[in-house]
Symmetry: C2
Subunit: 675 residues, 2 copies
């Protein structure tokens, strides 16, 4: 653990309590502490990869990253989510925690691990059956067999149901024939495809006996021929054309590529047949009746990708903050409080405002990610008895994963940018890590589900109470569905409704009748630092926005407008409802973590951070709260003053709060910034 405190902020002088840093670290590392630390030790020995990303020629760097991934696989740290019989760890939660820890290092390594073990291996595990597991998983887990996940096409990313690759069953030969149906419908951005994958899991529209059965996944060899020196096959398989996506903004250690299939034949058993199968004589069968339901069940098993990306984004934010806060705590510029000595950057009020709320939000998201990871583990390793309650829990989990991923990845983009700027010109040098952090994480906001599309999924879940058919509804269906419900029905089913039933008395303004800002009552005895008040505020916002979205959708349909146009007009409101929902979940996770922490310095530090996070969120949307009668002008101003006060209170702990991330010095680099 690095401790970079400058002399003037030595704990001895500022009263930072002993044990704060290790206590926080233990809390952050949580139940998977041992796995996290093993992964971090592992990648610290590969810290030089961070520099090689800048110095090696691009193709060499890609091969270097491949080698690192294969070596990591040998250590057993990348296969924790696979069954033990195939060399895995049999612990899904630990595998997510390991991935989060991996994000402290080079992010090409991270994403290549995600492609190989999460997407490719995960698809075989989750969509395949015993025959696929036995055939592939041991080699996949050990890194002997590299593969790719060929879902996205050039013309279709977010709208996976509209893919244009076709797999036709040929009953005569008992094979599937895979074809890219138009030149520009190639698989695109496929990690591992351009250089290293031997196999691909290919998503294609299944056609059996002239009938369209929707999107299914197939294992397709894409390279063949004699092994090259490094034990890989080098030639594209017959009928497969492979292209390279060329240089990218970041992640240039990952070989993203394009795939075209020209009548490629694979045996009948190449269909990953957990959710649907085709018999030798061409009879299609599935335990799930509805085609689109089947499709979303398949996609749902891939939820780990979203959870992993969100977690990695939080880690990347920590790395950026560890550098920027440590720098601000050493760097002096301009005389301010003294005529003779320049001031520490972190003693400037503006600098505190720039960095400390982002630090608080990083903690908040960390704890929200803890909840998500724990739920994921519980739901995916549960009994699988197919009960209604279990199905509902799955859909809620998918929604939480989507929403957390969106908020966490946008947070990373914003945090890394602010941290870079807060380090001035030095932040621009590659040696100081921001260059790669920024470039590599940029795509997080749009891959594994575009954030705006994900938030619309979240809103759809809320509006339909995760009705069993909700994921299958397109925008038009969803609008029609909501239009058919009473708004109160929509609201009463939500979890926030129960929260508010308990907490409404905490809100100034009382009933909705007096919802004009000027008439909102003052808070009376409700303190600005009361977490119940914070939660009630975010809960109120969530329910109110959701209700008005439902009302607007109904009103539009009632007036006979095209549901698509109605949706388009309400769309930013729909996304706002989803954001409000996820913000409440994030805060709830933080509040519960503080409440569960025993009294002491760790508790007190988290309590401050949680208040700072909550009030920053409320402050950012205080216009909305005033517009909806839940904040008076004077209380709105008081919140801004309180955020400033909290920044000043957190400032003496700032170094400890980033030291608690316990990031090895080698992974931070930035020698000229933080010594």
């Amino acid at each position: 653990m690095v401790h970079l405190t400058a002399p003037t902020t030595d704990p001895a002088h500022t009263g930072v309590p002993d044990g704060l840093v290790p206590g926080l670290t233990a809390l952050l590392d949580g139940e998977h502490a041992e796995v996290r630390r093993r992964v971090i030790d592992g990648i610290t020995s590969y810290a030089h990869v961070l520099e090689e990303g800048e110095t090696l020629p691009p193709e060499e760097f890609k091969d270097r990253v491949r080698d690192v991934v294969v070596e990591l696989a040998g250590s057993g740290l990348t296969g924790l989510g696979f069954p033990e019989e195939y060399g895995g760890g049999g612990d899904l939660g630990a595998s997510i925690a390991a991935f989060e820890a991996l994000a402290h290092g080079d992010l090409s390594v991270l994403v290549k691990v995600g492609v190989q073990f999460g997407l490719f291996g995960g698809a075989i595990l989750q969509l395949g059956t015993r025959r696929h597991h036995d055939a592939y998983l041991a080699d996949v887990v050990a890194g002997r067999l590299l593969g790719c996940f060929a879902m996205t096409e050039h013309r279709h990313g977010s709208n996976v149901a509209a893919l244009e690759t076709v797999a036709t069953y040929d009953v005569a030969t008992q094979e599937f024939v895979i074809t890219t149906t138009r030149e520009d419908a190639y698989k695109d951005y496929i990690g591992n495809a351009a250089r290293h994958a031997e196999l691909a899991v290919v998503f294609a529209q299944l056609e059996v006996g002239g009938e369209q059965r929707g999107v299914h996944a197939f294992v397709v060899p894409i390279r063949e021929g004699p092994s090259t020196g490094s034990g890989r096959r080098a030639q594209p398989a017959a009928g497969v054309r492979i292209g390279d996506d060329g240089p990218k903004m970041g992640l240039n250690g990952v070989d993203n590529g394009r795939l075209w299939f020209d009548g490629v034949r694979v045996p009948r058993t190449a269909l990953l047949n957990r959710f649907a199968d085709v018999s030798p004589d061409g009879v299609y069968s599935s335990p799930i009746e509805s085609q689109s339901r089947r499709f979303f069940t398949m996609l749902g098993t891939l939820i780990q990708g979203r959870v992993s990306v969100g977690g990695a984004a939080i880690t990347a934010s920590k790395v950026a903050l560890a550098i920027a806060v440590s720098y601000a705590n050493r760097r002096r510029q301009f005389e301010a409080t003294s005529e003779t000595e320049e001031e520490l950057l972190l003693d400037y009020g503006l600098h505190q405002r720039r960095l400390l709320p982002l630090l608080a939000r990083t903690y908040a998201l960390h704890f929200a990610q803890d909840v998500l990871r724990t739920n994921l583990h519980a739901v995916l390793t549960g009994a699988g008895d197919g009960t209604e309650g279990e199905e509902h829990a799955k859909r809620e989990l998918e929604s939480r994963a989507a929403g957390t991923k969106a908020l966490a990845t946008w947070h990373a983009t914003r945090t890394i940018q602010e941290c870079r700027e807060a380090c001035g010109g030095a932040g621009y040098l590659a040696v100081n890590r921001f260059a790669a952090l920024k470039a590599d994480t940029d795509v997080f906001t749009t891959f594994e589900g575009d954030n705006h599309v994900l938030l619309q999924l979240v809103a759809k879940g809320l509006l339909t109470d995760y009705a069993s058919e909700f994921e299958e509804m397109n925008q038009l269906d969803m609008v029609r569905f909501v239009a058919g419900l009473a708004v109160d029905t929509v609201l009463e089913r939500t979890s926030v409704h129960k929260l508010l039933e308990r907490a409404r008395s905490l809100l100034p303004g009382g009933s909705e009748a007096d919802a004009e800002a000027g008439h909102a009552g003052h808070a009376g005895d409700v303190g600005l630092r009361d977490p119940a008040y914070h939660l009630a505020m975010l809960g109120f916002r969530e329910e109110h926005i959701l209700g008005s979205v439902a009302r607007r959708l109904k009103a539009g349909v009632d007036r006979g407008r095209n549901p698509g146009e109605v949706f388009s007009a309400v769309q930013d409101h729909v996304v706002a409802a989803a954001r409000a929902h996820v913000e409440r979940l994030v805060l709830e996770a933080f509040v519960e973590k503080v409440a569960a922490t025993p009294p002491g310095p760790v508790h007190d530090a988290l309590d401050l951070l949680c208040d700072l996070h909550a009030l920053t969120v409320i402050e950012a949307d205080r216009a909305w709260f005033m517009e909806h009668g839940r904040l008076s002008v004077s209380r709105a101003k008081a919140i801004t003053a309180e955020v400033n006060a909290l920044c000043r209170e957190v400032r003496p702990l700032a170094q400890e709060l980033v030291d608690a991330f316990a990031i090895p010095r080698e992974l931070l680099r930035s020698e000229d910034l933080i010594g």
Copy 2:
């Protein structure tokens, strides 16, 4: 000019008037149309450099960029700001316009041009006298003599007055002796230093006869020895150590480096002596008495750099929007209004919200930049009679340049990011330009003056009414100065005060006495699309924030607190005052441009955009307006609805509005995004 309109939005079908695009282009190009188009033609022939940035090894790319810069110099387009007798164009305004146009191409070329002709050449022109001009300028302008601008040090960027390089006059040899006084006080991030510069303009603390005279600039050879193949000298000069800053986030075609000086001797005439000189026998003299005043006068002549960077940022935003809007106007995803055809992205309300206000703001900043460029030309090429009025105009100009640079560069960062995300995974591929746009412009927010520091300079100017000594005041002086004034005095001197005297009747809420939100009157007959209303709102905000900053500074000092602590506590408020001021100037420029445009389709399109820009700005800060009694809850909601309505109205013109930037197809690249 590209016209990328998709069939469904063909002007013929949507009623876009003929002549809109050329009319807008002519207006945007303005008085320097011919120069702009010549530059764009010039860089279009170098469009392949955009690709070479991805494919050439870094050192080769740096040399390639150097060659392009030298070739451009030969075309006369990079020296427009220099006197004609040295091969320049003698037109400062045109030189800024040329730089803005250059930013359509590779930004390493742009920045290398900025370093060579703006910073290095500009310093010799502005800080030197005839002997320096005659000795160097013809070669500088022609690109035969490359140089660098060695101001920033590793330990001091923003605080230039605290530089630690020293130049001591040795009367015995009539030389200055230049020394880096500590190992870590090297010159850092110096463009052109690592590979190509023969000369450096070095900023150092002048010491004459044991007296400290503050920062001055010297011409110092940093490379010597026989020419290399390309006609450049390759060896560091005696006593000079040169380092390389290594890989950077972007701008890797520029050779940024580090310089250490170990007793390097230069003749007495190496001092750039326009504002101060040392006689052979060691007598220091200057026409400007105050040392810090002299220093800021020197810095003031370098204002062009800020104006240039701001202009380049606006151009980069246009490139990003041209790609993202054209893509959104072709790309379909998900069925929305139709069951059978997917929807154009730009027909989604959310997508309009994401892109169109950014487009409107880009137009706004363009016109604000026009005003700035025109003022710069007028002030810097004015009579130079040293009158009080002229001095005041100079300081106002410096403030406007600082503020516009800050807003324009942050806008570029935000716009490029949003455009990248709006293009999904494809936006991540280098061939689609966002990678380089984002990486290369990132440093704009912190170089040529850190944006936060610049905004504090703006605020200081406002608070002190650009008192002759304002630039020299450090934070403590400034706080004390303001504390000595009546708040009304501060306000009455500002330009916004006059604006408000005329416009106050347009504001709902009347006098300040009833400034609580709930009591604010409704707008009555003041329309939401009335530019006078928009200006009055932004003017009110500016004056109010400025007044309360002054009050808080005074109150703090009156209570006997350390002025530095007072400043730190108020600092985010100080920056808010500056932002509010610059936002008003930007809107004013747009409103005036619309008013000056004759009736017709161009006028109408600009009018819509101006309303969209103004209401977006007010909407973003509507919490503040409610808190200060200038917006009722119902009117705040009406503004949000109006922004949505304006987005829908602008949408049919969106393609034309980016086509009007008239960016050659070759410079946009992005074939798979926009065909």
